[in-house]
Subunit: 261 residues, 2 copies
């Protein structure tokens, strides 16, 4: 399988790294910033690859799949300008963009890895869920073939589901990370190290997936321990006023989940 | 070291399991429910141990440490009734009770393992943080000696700090688990499996401790992506009204953390 890669950022780095490992050929790398495309090609010793910042140079190229590994703010613009041989299957990798932003192509789809990537920090792609969508069953099959080279965790996820998946990920990851930041702040003020919580958080996560988060729920709100809750609220009101509404709304949300009125 | 164990619940089970592995002798197990104490002794083949539901039977017993592995609601009551040889160091294991509920003893302290325990599911005690406090430096040393047999992660944490630690743990574990339950609910409605988020959550956790949660923060609120936020709010308003205030307050909290006005 031959790939044209549009983008030379974080995700492009990880895709390149894994494509090479699995013997998937990259025929071109495009980036608006030429040096970024050159650096990526150099880092992985891709001397035969067309490296360019001119989209037009891709127009005559042959390949099976063209992957758009771009940020959401540049994706629509590049989509509009991109012209490729009509047989090439064009897929974007965004969790928040619908399939139909590619509908001016003949063959198109979505190839969305549900993971957060840090440049330079290699990640085991084999457990990363790849969410696929395509304009025809045959095109989905092509994306599935590509996905199978990388991971065993493959999902068919349509554009509406992908929006919901993103909302769920925001709640399950971005928001939880923020709660860890709040905990860190509270602990620092008492000269306690955030790492003291690591085994507890790890076990909480492990339990949530072994049972279900609903079954695994513990804590003062779950057991309706009004005394502890009011002690906590008092402490926050005196020392971290901004965290009080957060504590209260989450406590209330847990209560109404387990003690519906 | 000889231990009297008060309580035969979840934590008592895990302590017994680990004490035996490390060659620490248990001389008595007390439980208000005799059968629970008997079951615990039987499960670990402790035939020589005094098993009782009469606190008075402990009054003449010799030991080094008496550990109160009890729930918060029964702890104060048992504390008041308990009479032991004055040399014995009495320690409770509660995260939320102050040291001075034991002040009628001569030697007393706190031996608080910061972890969530599931009965029957063995856990590696060697990475569990043990939080110690005692009425004298010498008594703290005795607790430290006992703690060192179980773990290398030992902290001196006074009663005020322990309250704060509990608040931080509620935010970092109970609240995050609830957000996972919310994400699960959102996904189920779209026929998506919660496990699709597992690698992403695991990586988020890993990053939060490798950097710091503040440095590791990502997501629409962090990058001030107003368009995505409003799309998410619209979806929640239409489909999960109860989750909308939660989404909004966490988004606002992240915003004001990274873009203070």
């Amino acid at each position: 399988m031959k790939i044209i890669l549009i983008g030379a950022g974080n995700l492009a780095w990880h895709l390149t790294c894994n494509f090479i490992q699995k013997g998937i050929e990259i025929v071109a790398i495009y980036s608006q910033t030429l040096t970024k495309a050159q650096e990526l090609a150099q880092e992985f010793g891709l001397e035969q690859v067309l490296v360019t910042n001119h989209l037009k140079k891709l127009a005559q190229l042959q390949a099976d799949v063209c992957l758009l590994a771009l940020k959401d703010d540049v994706l629509p613009n590049i989509c509009q300008q991109l012209q490729l041989q009509p047989n090439i299957l064009v897929a974007h990798t965004s969790g928040s963009q619908p399939l139909n932003i590619l509908q001016h192509f003949k063959n198109y789809g979505v190839f969305y890895p549900l993971q957060t990537f840090t440049k330079g920090k290699a990640i085991d792609f084999s457990i990363i869920p790849l969410c696929l969508e395509a304009n025809t069953p045959n095109n989905e099959l092509i994306l599935r073939k590509l996905a199978q080279k990388l991971t065993s965790s493959i999902y068919t996820v349509n554009s509406e589901q992908r929006v919901v998946l993103h909302i769920a990920a925001v709640m399950a990851c971005n928001f939880t990370n923020h709660l860890w930041a709040c905990a860190d702040r509270i602990l620092q003020r008492e000269h306690l190290d955030f790492h003291i919580l690591q085994p507890l958080i790890a076990e909480t996560l492990q339990k949530a997936f072994a049972l279900s988060p609903k079954q695994a729920q513990t804590g003062p709100a779950k057991r309706n321990d009004v005394q502890t809750i009011s002690k906590h609220e008092q402490f926050l009101a005196q020392n971290h006023t901004d965290l009080l509404p957060l504590y209260q709304i989450l406590t209330k949300s847990i209560s109404s989940y387990y003690y519906p009125s």
